[in-house]
Amino acid sequence: MDEPMLMQPEAEISATRVESAEPASGPVVSITGVGKIFGTGEKAVSALEDVSFDVQPGSFVALLGPSGCGKSTLMRLMAGLQPVTSGSIDFEGRSPEQMRKAREFGIVFQQPILFDWRTVQKNVELPLELIGVSKAEARARADEMLSLVGLQDFATKRPWQLSGGMQQRVAIARALAFRPRFLMMDEPFGALDMMTRERMQVELLRIWDSKPDITVTFITHSISEAVLLADRVVVMSARPGRVMKVIDVDLERPRFDDIRQSKEFVDIEGEIRELIYSQEN
Amino acid sequence: ACGSDDESASAVSDPSAPLEKCDGTKIKFQLSFFPNAQYVALMVAQNRGFFEEAGVDVELVDGGPNISAPAQMGQGLADLGLLQFDETQNANLSGADFVWIGQYYQKSPVLFAAMKDTPFADGADLKGLTTNTNSGDLDPELHALMEQAGVAEDEVEIVPASPSVSDLINGTVDMYQLQRFFHVAEIESLGMSLEEDFNTIDANEAGVALPAHGVVANREFLDANPDAVGCFLAGLIKGVNTVLADPEGAVADVDAMSMEGLATHEQNIVNVQETIKLMSERPDGSPVDPLVIDEEWLADGQEQSLEFGILPEAPDLDTFVDPAPLARAEKLAETLG
């Protein structure tokens, strides 16, 4: 397996990303008419209906939508963890399952899912162990990622000794240390305070900028977070989840926090907000 | 189920052939239970090297409650063994092929006993009593006694009891089937006396004696090693004779070969005395030579077993019993001294 160097500390934060997202090369993921039904018979719940959108190679896609609309479910389908009921998800000819088996995915689940029998550090090292990264390298990567999420002092603690937000950061560190080509994150910053959250956003952008072929799918409830981070925001409607609109965010890269004050930013934010509120009424 | 050809048995065991000292054949001998005083003759022969003298290398394999002696032997895990008469016959009916080559006990070890305050003089007194059983409802002596006195099956209540006579003293049972080689000593160790504290009926005196323990061989082994079996029997004969001649001396062997601390030395003295009687007297009290097979008694016992349902069918006694090895052994035993 070739391991994409997800992160090069020496990489320039200012590396421009925009070119790499050139749409000419065709989508790296095509989601076409995807539906998902849980259960059968009377008790069946339709979680997703006719969901379609494309993801460009190396792009950053944010998923926005009301609670229970099927965002986590969609991520599971894309990751090949569950079969679609209808439609198809296509990674340049390969199925999600094939991609998963090729270890192309790094996933941050909505719950942290840490193993109590491992220290924080060892939790981060877990996926690296699995793919046979050497002990020393795994340790180095884990330490690096723990510093990145601000938990270097907690490396030898056990998960239950951490606060909710700290656990979530361990899960983020674990996914990043894996250096996948596709990063899928389900509300990764949901349990973080604003400041930590902003720091994490910057770090995530920095990592993504530094490595042009990483494609990120990012579930969030924060419109401004979506606009700040994403090339494309997929706005979903409530149950059964459908795609309401796909909005391209053509803000320049690299983006920093102060972009929030820019007119374009506020405009897009407003557009999305309106879209969402229109749905309610 | 029982399909042995008697040619092979008679062909090899030629009584006329003089038996010489053997050349160290290994023999595994299965005991029916934990080593205890009832095996005194075997212990003496082993302990004092009589088997060695006869040229066989004997290993005594312990039995125990988790060990089925016939099953062990049947599987070929032992060559010879000490088994009960009826259990050996049943094993043969089930497919084993054992040969009865010597009679270890020459009379029944069973003694029916009740406490002194229970009227118990003959079989008729059994009516309305509760009693223990030694082997489920398979105690032929008891059945014989009841039939003799015209007591019906349901007029005696059989309840399983512990292997100790304590259940009789406790009152759990009104009548207890003692094993002479064992319980007499137990009673004495409790500070009681068989005569003064109990009313007893001896199975032998009541005419309901049935054959008990005998020396049994795997036919396959016997056919392959007729001489070794003879040599073994010679050593055992010398063992019995030595016990008869010097009971006290034999107790020392029993003390040494049983587990320390269980049966006391005093109990072993009594157990050896009782075992001696069982090895050397016929049911009518007349003396008998060691291990001699009384085929008439066996036939009688078999008939009773059939009658009481202890045997489902009649095995052929002629193939079951082979007195030839013993006959050849007696000569060698004499030369052993």
């Binding site: 899912i113 029998w117 056990r158 | 934990f34 089925s68 100790s164 304590s166 269980l262």
Partner: protein, 277 residues
């Protein structure tokens, strides 16, 4: 790790008796002894025969123990040795069976019922067969000693291997972890609490298994002592009680050893953490 009180482990909703934990054990032991004494007193007061067989005074048992110290101790050594060996053998076999069976629900459905059936075969029918198959009395005895411990450990292992939450399985799947890796990193650790419960059950049972071994002919061990003392009647009742008490202590020690091992192996388990509070 042992000093970390997990949140909520001070189970304030659960009432506690007003004594400290180490006194607690003492209290329970004293209570048991007191009941025993009263019971023994009543039995001796009545005119039941053999009161010392039915319920001897505790000090009588101690006296018997001291009087037969050498014999009892050497028997206990034999029994304990076989129990430990049998336990280890049984545990290894059982965990192996458990892991194998839980590889698919088909395997489980196919073999679990027979595992149960196997445990019901009386040892007396099994010994000659095992002797014949293995042709090695020591191995046979070891397997008999281990035999009784296999079922609880195997059943607990199968069950424990299912204890991992589906979400955690998904995480492993997302790494395309191999069967073996998932077993090693997720399923085994989350199975440990139940496996250890099974082992805790099996540990004292192995003492029982060892007693079964004592009854297969060797003239050694506490089992032989119990049986022989029973056969040899009320005179030896004291010895039976001594053997029973010693066996109980051995069983408790074995279980305790399992607990200590568990603390070392799985300090992260909630139940283990809970006991530390």
């Amino acid at each position: 790790m042992a000093t970390v009180p997990a949140p909520g482990i001070v189970p304030s909703g659960v009432r506690r008796l007003p004594f400290q934990s180490s006194y607690g054990l003492l209290g329970v032991i004293v209570a048991i002894l007191a009941v025993w004494y009263v019971g023994a007193f009543l039995v001796h007061l009545s005119d039941e025969p053999f009161p010392d067989a039915k319920l001897p005074y505790p000090h009588f048992v101690v006296q018997e123990f001291v009087d037969n110290l050498d014999m009892v101790m050497s028997a206990a050594r034999v029994t304990l040795t076989m129990a430990v060996l049998g336990f280890l053998a049984g545990a290894v076999i059982a965990i192996g069976i458990g892991v194998f069976i839980s590889q698919s629900s088909w395997l489980e459905a196919a073999f679990m019922p027979y595992l149960l059936m196997a445990q019901m075969i009386p040892v007396i029918a099994l010994v000659p067969v095992m002797q014949t198959v293995f042709r090695n009395p020591t191995l046979t005895r070891l397997l008999i000693a281990g035999f009784v411990t296999i079922l609880p450990v195997a059943v607990s292992t199968v069950r424990g291997l299912k204890a991992a939450p589906p979400e955690a399985r998904e995480l492993m799947e997302s790494y395309d972890a191999s069967r073996l890796q998932t077993l090693r990193h997720l399923l085994s650790p989350s199975a440990l609490p139940l496996v250890f419960t099974g082992l805790r059950i099996a540990a004292p049972l192995s003492v029982l298994g060892s007693v079964l071994v004592d009854l297969t002919g060797g003239q050694q061990g506490l089992g032989y002592l119990v049986l022989a003392a029973q056969v040899y009647g009320p005179n030896f009742a004291g010895l039976v009680w001594v053997a029973m008490v010693v066996l109980a202590v051995l069983g408790a020690l074995m279980a305790q050893a399992v607990s200590i091992t568990e603390r070392l192996v799985a300090p992260w388990d909630v139940a283990v953490r809970g006991e530390v509070a």
